[in-house]
């Protein structure tokens, strides 16, 4: 069974390079889905997001969930890259790349991993408002718990 590639890093990632690394010369891959999460400025309200993480636990949790995605959707491979540190609007935060023989498995694999990342990966986001005020920590959303539950009930 393929091993997931999981990177927790401060620097940006290269989607094309990660995709190439994942698919390689495998000619039985029929579908590749990439998900890129970007920092929004929330209608010009934010100057940046600060991402804090729990080193070690972040790699461990994401790897465990990525392995589950491979098994569950019979993926040819999956990659997850999650950035930490200060990230400006328009910049990348997270990347998931899933490869499979058929399209729905690739979509589901990437979607599943993203839903778990939202509520199970030990990252926390703090807003830096443009007006210079002290920003708040982003609250967890009920919608994200709901998104997770769709995979748990299956």
């Amino acid at each position: 069974m393929p091993e997931p590639r999981v990177l927790i890093q401060e620097e940006d990632f290269d989607i094309a390079a990660e995709t190439k690394l994942l698919t390689g010369e495998n000619k039985n891959i029929g579908a590749v889905v990439t998900f890129t999460g970007l920092c929004r400025d929330e209608d010009n309200r934010l100057s940046a997001l600060e991402l804090e993480h729990y080193p070690g636990m972040a790699e461990g949790e994401i790897t465990r969930i990525a392995q589950e995605a491979i098994t569950r959707f019979d993926l040819n491979g999956i990659t997850a890259v999650h950035r930490y540190g200060k990230i400006n609007p328009g910049e990348n935060i997270v990347l998931v790349v899933a490869a499979a023989r058929h399209r729905q498995a690739a979509f589901d694999g990437a979607n599943f991993l993203m839903d778990f990342l939202k509520t199970r990966a030990p990252f926390w986001k703090k807003e830096h408002p443009r007006d210079g005020s002290t920003g708040d920590w982003v609250s967890a959303k009920d919608a994200d718990d709901d998104a997770l539950s769709k995979w748990l009930s299956e």
């Binding site: 804090e52 729990y54 070690g56 939202k118 030990p122 990252f123 926390w124 982003v138 609250s139």
Partner: protein, 84 residues
């Protein structure tokens, strides 16, 4: 035992991590929250609403508050995660 804090817990407590000696009767996660709550401010205040605070033992997320913490090297306390 090492306690580590993240996000607004870290900010409000003013510490990233600390070594603590727990009394013998602190056996579970629930006990740990009880003990933290009776410490001086800002602990009492921060851990008042402890049901939303999440716990990892040895970098594994643990939901069951009756989980035994004996022998744990590192326990992390943090708000609900907002990854992705």
């Amino acid at each position: 035992m090492k306690l580590v804090y993240f996000a607004w817990l870290r900010e409000r407590l003013g510490v990233n991590e600390e070594m603590v000696d727990l009394p013998d009767d602190v056996q579970t996660i629930a006990d740990l929250f009880g003990w933290l709550k009776q410490r001086e401010e800002p602990y009492a205040d921060v851990f008042e609403a402890s049901d939303i605070i999440q716990v990892a033992i040895g970098k594994q997320h643990v939901l069951d508050r009756s989980t035994n913490i004996a022998g744990a090297d590192e326990i992390a306390l943090f708000p609900p995660m907002t990854g992705g």
